[in-house]
Symmetry: C2
Subunit: 399 residues, 2 copies
């Protein structure tokens, strides 16, 4: 009856979303959701932040500028100083999570058929956003160290003249779904390639604060300051969703002012501004120092859970599972060589355990032995029981 645009005639939706219907089943253990652990929210700290923010109720309740509430913009710039990046006001836009930042960027930059390189496996919503904007997705298959920059260099030398690429999307620190982190050396090489071939590097950075092992690495944004011309080609996206709460929907974009200016107009057109109330609460929380007091507990819990899940999987599976060991984030990337993860999932649902099969994270998916396990939300007991159930499902899928 309706004449939908082609991308929406038979829209795919999120493969992870499809699993939602199973999450509520009795006794289900879910390693599927990418949600932070609700038990670790700083409930009292956010309440205090509300009270402080609401001391100026009109600021919380009135519309604010599209660029973001000034007090939050200042707080985010301070936060970025703590992450070794000096950010001017004209380089910053507050967004509804980092996800809106990517969507706005695609709106102002991506025309149908434009090429975007994507580190794969990738966050499914990234792939979906690119599809909706009719971009051509070229997957970069890396290794446990993330994007293989030597292969990327070779690819660019061969293909770029005929097919200039517009952007490259990566989660260089604790990638979703793999938990992989790109080395400093590769980060530098990536930035040099961006300058040489004049493409945008979109650094999606929601997880870097969730480091529970090893020394912190500089972001692409930070490194770009030392590579001539590189700052112009980095778009840095981040979010408070994993460090305070996803329910605030506060993210931000850092980019060249010409890009920010366009994204402001795209945002003004699409939703005018983010909630002043949640922005004011976020600003008050960031300024309170509560995060520094509370966040180490979150990190410690994620560290414990990650270690516990790896141990439980190895206890059940022995050598029949391979799991990468992340230094932070929320995800384990696993593979069981002999089975297709989609088939494993069917048995897993019967055994009351959920995960996301690897195919969800590729632009073109076929059978894959890979899958993603989130260790953030389940309890310690659920991690242990879930690993056993997963192994039972694995044995059934071999039969």
């Amino acid at each position: 009856m309706y004449d939908f645009v082609p991308a929406y005639v038979a829209p795919a939706g999120s493969p992870i979303r499809e699993l939602h219907k199973y999450v509520g089943l009795p006794d289900m253990i879910s390693f599927a959701a990418g949600y932070p652990d609700g038990a670790l929210f700083d409930v009292e700290g956010v309440q205090r932040a509300f009270e402080q923010a609401y001391a100026d109720p009109r600021r919380c309740l009135q519309y604010t500028g599209t660029e973001g509430l000034p007090v939050l913009r200042d707080a985010l710039r301070s936060l970025m100083v703590g992450r070794a990046a000096q950010v001017e006001a004209e380089n910053l836009l507050v967004t509804t999570g980092s996800q809106q930042g990517f969507d706005l960027l695609l709106r102002v930059l991506m025309q149908p058929g434009d090429i975007c390189l994507v580190e794969q496996p990738a966050y499914p919503a990234t792939l979906q956003a690119l599809r909706m904007h009719q971009a051509r997705i070229v997957g970069l298959h890396g290794d446990e160290g993330g994007i293989d920059t030597a292969r990327l260099r070779a690819w660019l030398a061969e293909h770029h003249a005929a097919q200039p690429i517009k952007a490259l999307y990566t989660v260089p620190t604790f990638s979703n779904p793999t938990g992989r982190t790109l080395s400093v050396q590769r980060r530098r090489e990536l930035l040099e390639l961006a300058v040489q071939y004049r493409f945008l590097v979109v650094e999606d950075d929601p997880y870097s604060e969730l480091r529970f092992e090893g020394p912190a690495l500089p972001s692409l944004l930070t490194l770009a300051a030392d590579i001539p011309g590189a700052s112009d080609w980095v778009v840095h996206l981040s979010s408070l969703s994993k460090v305070i709460a996803g329910g605030l929907r506060v993210g931000w974009m850092i980019a060249h002012p010409d890009i920010i200016k366009r994204c402001v107009i795209a945002k003004q057109t699409s939703d005018l501004c983010c909630s002043s109330l949640t922005q004011a609460v976020a600003a008050a929380y960031l300024s309170s120092g509560d995060m520094d007091r509370h966040f180490p507990k979150v990190i410690a819990s994620y560290r414990d859970k990650c270690v516990a899940l790896i141990a439980a999987l190895q206890a059940s599976f022995g050598t029949s599972i391979r799991v990468e060991h992340p230094q932070g984030g929320m995800f384990l990337w696993a593979r069981c060589e002999e089975v297709d993860a989609a088939r494993l999932l069917a048995h897993a649902i019967d055994n009351r355990v959920l995960f996301v099969p690897g195919g969800a994270f590729y632009a073109e998916s076929g059978p894959s032995p890979e899958f993603r396990l989130s260790f953030a939300s389940p309890s310690r007991q659920e991690l242990a029981t879930g690993a056993q159930r997963l192994h039972a499902a694995y044995q059934q899928s071999l039969a």
Copy 2:
């Protein structure tokens, strides 16, 4: 340096936004902003709503479904019952203001070159959203009773076969900028034309609760239930921005499930979900009964201010200004025949008073004697003084 999509190469931005730089000048009186009066916010009521919502902190802080927080979805459906519309869950999507609803709709339905009829003068962000989606905008010039459906019928009979239209956008109740309201008879005719010619009627309805005079009229959504086939062709957008607070950024869309389903996927891709916190607060406020206690004060204030501004203008201008008398909303639509409103604005700024010249509300703007005055935010004293200053500017612009 960057290869922006054409609409963003030299993006226009909002003409109202351009006035922002003058708003902060000392002693400036602004009739320009479309903001509700911050002095009328139900500060205590929203605080109680926060406290009630935050009794379940995890619900406020965790991500929620793209369709919206269930408790808010229920509250909005109850609200719509009070507006004489029975809305099923599958017909409703929570959005970031009504503005996001329109943007999502354009994303799933509008292809470059598709025709959208727009009641003009129109809300500038609507025109901008259509431009960004490369729609062809055909302006409908109505009269003081809104869209002239007889002329629309004639236009469709002549043009529709060659140029099928996809949608018609209207604010049928207390239009921004004119304050005009479409009669019930014309509403019915509009819906019959939509069924006959198979186009979507987008009913943007943020202001209808702000009625301070005359009996309430049924929305297009309500009337459509009695016209065979019409419900399929109505997309109803609304918002709590004018009835609770714009800072919450809570709006909603009501449409056929096929449209909602696509818009959910577009929203999932663009920003995942609205803030759970503001949704929970809005739901608690709607359920508290505080709105029924508080809102009559808002209406009474707007009524008084509207009457006061009209009286002050007539006292200063006599017959050299013509002002339409709205039955609700936040805006007066005025004209001073002998002057171009853009020229009048230059003198007005010198006299420390602001308004929005009429050209901002047309897809193709030229000199216009029309302008919009918002009476919502200024104080009674400012309304009186502002009218005198406006008259001084008018005399200077005649000289």
